[in-house]
Amino acid sequence: MEKKAAIIGVGMTKFTSCRRETRSRAELAFAAVKDALTSAKLELKDIDASVYTSVDGFEATVRPARTLEALGQVLNIPLIDVNTGGSAGGSGIKEAVHLIEAGIYDIVLVYGSPTFNSVVDNQQVLNTASPPIFEKPFGIGAVHMGAFYLTRYMRDYDLPEESWADVAAKNHRAAARNPYAHLRKGPTSAEILASPMIASPIRLLECCPTSSGAVAMIFASEKRAKELCDTPVWVRAMSSITDTFLSGFKSYQGFDKLKILAQKVMKAAGIKNPLKEIDVAELFNPFAGFELLEYEAVGFCKEGEARRLLDDGVTDVGGKLPVNMSGGVVCTNSGISASVIRHAEVALQLMGKAEGRQVKSPSVGLAHSWGGNDGQFHTLAVLTL
């Protein structure tokens, strides 16, 4: 019998624009960790180890974890620093899960840092009064890379540009219902289509903002989870996958590595028909259109059929498999905390605590994170009640 790990606590701050942020990184960390501990009915002294996830360069500090004191170092517990780019949240969670399943620790804290907070935006991408969009760190390179995938997909499947706007609008409507989300104005498809083109075929309102806010999660061993929590959320299967570096074998035809990973994780979780068996999902979409390619990669539908799932409302509120009911990364991108949040949001949904955005009694969820140069890393987790 393998050991099991569960999520027993989730804490997060409300998200806002990096430019409008007035809280320090210490205050954000303290608020998120405190909130997570409270929700798990624990105190700092109960934590056996902490996992910090961020990307140093964006914080303009080498190993920023060292100076952040909110993670229990005062009690001399191990501080584990995981950095795999944007997917670091997923990688950090996987680390916590392995450490618990290995029987090394009973209670592990995972912290998702607001990676973009220190970044100064002197030269905004766009001269617009709309919410701060796409500043240098995530914008450059990332948008072009995203565009390569979407250009190819449009040409391969004759997808109209309206579909990108429709999936963006679905996320924006969801964010309007999520009290924690950053962009909450809920623009329509028509408004999204009228926003400026950034890098074809991606328009302004199909791009994530740079947000500020933090998230913390508490993971526990089976025994402790059952003692401490009425609704532990079990990590049924989780893994990651690695692509080659920049000059890889990519022809930008769909997310092929995510597809391989999904097959592996679904098999480990005993899921044969993802669309039928999964009730709620958070898929990493810094560009709204990614969500459609991800439906296909994780096996919600066949290649080229994502648009039909969207048009039929399958992945919207009240659908069979609501996706990104948080509003997704496209409405709140706080750097590495965004990849932790995918898991936190699914956990809240399964616990029945997703204020304003709760899906009706889900019991199986899917959380995805994505990062690295050119989207080199993916992580995927099946979470269950």
């Binding site: 190993r63 620093d81 795999t84």
Partner: protein, 378 residues
């Protein structure tokens, strides 16, 4: 039910002061030879853990470059920043959890950088960075406290350095093999009082790789697996009291947890050698007591008389330690590999202790890792 995790193979590339290739190429070479030595192909690997810090690679998300070089293509891979034993702990947990049978741990150092400037950029930007503190100054602060507490003298610092340099002359992988004497060290320029230039580690280039395996796979792959019988970590808070820092509470926590899981009651009797991460010579003296090698305040005496048990000498840093070889990314992986080599070469030696930390960035907010590696008991 406790499963065992073994290390079945290792390989080292280097070490020297300058690299002739990029870090991915260096990592590839080490991992490739470690796999060949183990007699397995890349296909057999389930997980990869890279040890590196972005700043030491000069690029952001540098594991993007090195994870495929470590065999990670289409595999489950991660990157731990904070020392090589941290990456070993990650691979160990992958195997113990049942998610992997065979895992690679690797790191490489190729880029030329200013070690002190990178350390400075790790300190708090509002309160410390401007003061000009770096790793070197932080070692100096600890060394000063050792002097004031009467734990050791400036002479002891130089003797400890000379002891390491002498040991380094017999290590074919070492970066510094010139065997500086006590006189050389004590006449080298003062850098940050009380630290002299030859009491501070250089920055080394090279790479290191290990292959970790589940008990079953380890026994299939080698007749002489080395088992990880204890592995633990502990941290110190960043702006805690100076007293807390000097107490090295994080290190003590890691040591006591590792000793406990390896059933070590008397380290002098139970451990044959220690490979410590001491990038400034005074730190070796500071660690003797937390390791249980001497009583508080007696480090100086231990240095003079040597560490002995039942007539045999227990070696500390037989490789020459960090003063001879100090790669920023793969240091802990290197020390684990060098400990394996020691165990292979010394029939009498049964159990080694390896220590690692991220104090290459300086003290304050540091994390310590320790590991106990031992031969199969027959």
């Amino acid at each position: 039910m406790t499963r065992k995790v073994g290390i079945v193979s290792y390989a080292l590339e280097g070490f020297q002061g300058e690299a002739r290739m990029s870090s991915d190429e260096l990592v590839f070479r080490a991992v490739n030879s470690a796999l060949r030595k183990a007699g397995v192909g890349r296909d057999s690997i389930d997980a990869v853990a890279v040890s590196s810090v972005d700043a030491y690679d000069g690029i952001t998300i540098s594991n993007g470059l090195t994870a495929p070089a470590a065999g990670g293509y289409e595999k489950d891979a991660t990157r731990i920043q904070g020392g090589g034993i941290g990456a070993i702990l990650s691979a160990y947990a992958s195997i113990q959890s049942g998610s992997a049978e065979l895992a690679v741990v690797a790191g490489g150092d190729a880029v030329r950088y200013d070690d002190a400037a990178i350390s400075n950029a790790s300190y708090d930007v509002h309160f410390h960075r401007g003061s000009g503190i770096t790793n070197i100054q932080s070692y100096g602060l600890v060394a000063t406290s050792l002097l004031k507490q009467g734990v050791a003298t400036e002479d002891d610092f130089a003797r400890t350095a000379a002891k390491n340099y002498k040991a380094g002359t017999t290590n074919r992988h070492a970066h510094i093999t010139s065997g500086y004497s006590y006189e050389d060290v004590s006449s080298s320029p003062m850098v940050a009082w009380p630290l002299r230039a030859l009491e501070i580690a250089p920055v080394s280039k090279g790479s290191a790789a290990l292959i970790l395996a589940s008990e079953k796979r380890a026994k299939e792959l080698t007749r002489n697996p080395l088992w990880i019988t204890g592995i633990a970590a502990g941290s110190n808070t960043y702006a805690g009291s100076w007293q807390d820092l000097l107490e090295m509470k994080g290190l003590r926590k890691a040591i006591s947890n590792a000793y406990k899981s390896a059933s070590i009651k008397n380290p002098i009797a139970d451990i044959d050698f220690f490979e410590l991460y001491t990038p400034a010579s005074p730190l070796e003296l500071a660690y003797y007591e937390p390791l249980g090698l001497c009583e508080r305040g007696k480090a100086s005496m231990l240095l003079k008389n040597g560490i002995r048990f039942s007539g045999r000498e227990i070696e500390v840093n037989p490789s020459g330690g960090a003063l001879c070889t100090n790669p920023g990314n793969c240091g802990g992986v290197y020390r684990a590999a060098i400990a394996m080599e020691y165990l292979e070469k010394h029939d009498h030696a049964r159990r080694g202790f390896i220590q690692d930390s991220d104090i290459n960035l300086g003290f304050m907010g540091e994390t310590y890792h320790v590991m106990i590696l031992e031969k199969e008991t027959r």
